[in-house]
């Protein structure tokens, strides 16, 4: 049966909440990326290599929910399979991001070390990054635990909020490409001792 011919189904409350959570997840990471831009340009704190790699991992983690939302309009895979794949992407990206941020925290663990960059609300950005990756892991793990009852139902097309969320994420990834290219240049060395 064609996707567009499917009868609209009334989603259960957990499925609707999960659908909202997926959007909030992406919007949250978009907010973090915008905050990173503010720290970089507003406060003049240039990122190091490890900071940029953590930013990459955060984008990669956001692509998990993007997968789930994008494939909700119908693929050969089942909704449960798409949910598992999406959060699988997030879990793997978070573990890598967690490793990178832990490495950067450990580089400044010695007493008297001022840390790298400007502290925001008392913590350095790498510590915030560590906390955020933990939260992403917790959300992903909890959702996978209840995946059978949380898998989104197939939709004929995405709503405007979904499209706007995906467009915002896409724009921020593009902005990162432009910023990294023009601020660090094609071959300019980054701060190598973060």
């Amino acid at each position: 049966m064609n996707i567009s011919e499917r009868e609209p189904t009334l989603d259960s409350l957990p499925v609707r909440l999960q659908w909202c959570l997926l959007h909030l997840y992406i919007l949250g990471i978009c907010g973090i990326l915008l905050a990173a831009f503010f720290v970089q340009f507003g406060l003049g704190d240039a990122p190091c290599t490890l900071c940029l790699l953590q930013r990459c991992c955060m984008i990669l983690a956001a692509l998990g929910p993007t997968w789930i939302i994008a494939t909700a309009t119908g693929t050969s895979a089942s909704p449960l399979e798409n949910l598992s794949r999406g959060f699988g992407i997030s879990v793997i990206a978070s573990v890598l991001g967690l490793t990178i941020s832990a490495r950067q925290i450990l580089m400044h663990i010695a007493p008297g070390d001022p840390g790298f960059g400007i502290p925001i609300f008392g913590y350095h950005l790498t510590t915030w990054s560590f906390i955020i990756f933990w939260v992403i892991l917790l959300i992903s793990g909890t959702t996978l635990l209840f995946s059978r009852s949380l898998a989104p139902t197939a939709k004929s097309q995405l709503g405007r909020y979904s499209k706007a969320t995906l467009a915002l994420l896409g724009s921020l990834i593009f902005a990162n490409v432009v910023v990294v290219f023009f601020t660090h240049g094609a071959f300019a060395p980054l701060v190598q001792t973060p």
Binding site: L53, L63, T66, S76, L96, T99, R103, M107, A186, T193
Partner: protein, 52 residues
């Protein structure tokens, strides 16, 4: 250059996911992950300022 390349790959991955190219997306995801991991490993050439 590597960081810029990784961000370009991430943008391609985003577009592939949105266009629902499943297998291509999985391949790009593994490629992104590999490049980030390799760049991270390559950055571990400096000794942390802690002497045990």
């Amino acid at each position: 250059m590597i960081e810029c390349g990784i961000f370009i790959l991430l943008l391609l991955l985003f577009l592939a996911i949105v266009r629902q190219f499943s297998m291509f997306s999985i391949g790009l995801f593994i490629l992104c992950l590999g490049f980030i991991a390799l760049r991270f490993i390559a950055s571990i050439d400096s000794v942390p300022p802690i002497s045990l």
